[in-house]
Symmetry: C2
Subunit: 257 residues, 2 copies
Amino acid sequence: MARTKQDEPNTHRTMHVVNHIRSLIENGTLQPGDKIPPEREFARTLKISRASLRTGIGYLAAMGVMKIRHGVGTFVADGPPEFGKASLSLMGALHGFQSWQMFEARIILESHLAALAAERGKEEHHAALAEEVAEMFASINNPSDYLIHDLLFHRIISQASGNPILAALIETITSALYDKRRKTVERSTDLRESAEMHREIYRAIRARRPMEARKLMEQHLRMAQAAQGMERPTAADRKAQNGAAKGKQARLAGVAS
Amino acid sequence: MARTKQDEPNTHRTMHVVNHIRSLIENGTLQPGDKIPPEREFARTLKISRASLRTGIGYLAAMGVMKIRHGVGTFVADGPPEFGKASLSLMGALHGFQSWQMFEARIILESHLAALAAERGKEEHHAALAEEVAEMFASINNPSDYLIHDLLFHRIISQASGNPILAALIETITSALYDKRRKTVERSTDLRESAEMHREIYRAIRARRPMEARKLMEQHLRMAQAAQGMERPTAADRKAQNGAAKGKQARLAGVAS
DNA sequence: CCCGGAACAGAGGTCAGACCAGAAGAAGTA
DNA sequence: TACTTCTTCTGGTCTGACCTCTGTTCCGGG
């Protein structure tokens, strides 16, 4: 069986729609932000029923490629690339993702991103980062404002990394983590320290010191993780709350078996 | 209003279906591989039209949470976690992802994964890895067989890392890269060297030497990347082909129409 | 008794057209 | 001029009929 599992000849119409729109995007006819024709008209054009067209559009919308606005129209997504919003959360429910795992993924990706940003970042990125750091210091007493600039800071680093795929990955994870972060920030009492760390990261990036940026980012995120109590549970933790998980230890903490 | 902030009031029914199935999964009523009721019956149960139900199911299917088999039924996905298959490819078309970027993402993720596998891998993983290495050596003269074991080897490392999220990320990228890899392997003349590298990686993981595993994996992937001519273009390269800026071609491998 | 093809039933896929609901802009009114 | 209402465009939902694919059952010929 050389072929991939399933070349699905079924769902013809749906894939027909998907491929059609895909080609429109590839040849530049459709660009981010553009509006596609009304369903009734588009369906007539493609010679398929409106229902089938909607199935295809729904598929694209689910993956974040298109954005549907009731009463207005359907558009090609234009924000930062990101996989389906509910995607991670759904898969989490299905495969039992844990918070610490999301955070671990984030730390790995984002610290590398910081290093890449230090290597490849341009002046515009440096300026934007400086701007956000300043805003952070300015909103130290306003947690929700602070969080916004925090998010922007990290997003700019993603862009500065020059790798939109990694940026999309991070974006996906971050958006799934957003709710929790907000709660944490609300009760956070020392945003100054956090702002300082961001500033240091910014400086490392601006000075083009990848290793340093990477290290600082990692340190920053680990601290954030700790603040939210999302560390990887130790063997002891799990034993305490899990009775007997057969053969499921693999501890790191070094607690005696 | 126990729900999340930005609940889109539109797409009511769709989200209703999604959330319903989601809760069925979360409370264990539905597990990977399970079949959901026939559309007509399920629609009656939820008191919505079959069309709306299908929209919701389509949404879940697009994200890889459900798998639909024409003439048979609809099931909860059971394979390795992965985001929507066409997802990356579609987003690539939209945001102009480049092959070297996918590879860069893969290198970063997978080398860390190797390190984690070295830290957390269990006996069963070690055994499975050894098995695949052996198979690789056995199929040195059969490229397509070799590729299968190569894929399995990397997938086992993903599992051994103990972080299903990172595994899902890798799986997504890898599947998008699959077509290209197949072509490359077909004309590859020296699979022995590749097999040797896999063996070394395996040894490092088994010996629980994270740093070494990470380094070897990175080295291995960079070599693979070079073999496929997917390095990051240099400034000179870009200048050479940058004449027609708008013409966007040569994106990631997608499903042939 | 075994085998292969026909028929069947169950499940998803598509279609048609009518009607519901949100949003934006035009038209009317104070 | 500024506010309100109405029209119209766009997506959302419903209904119920019919098509296609798949797996299973059944039956006749070898």
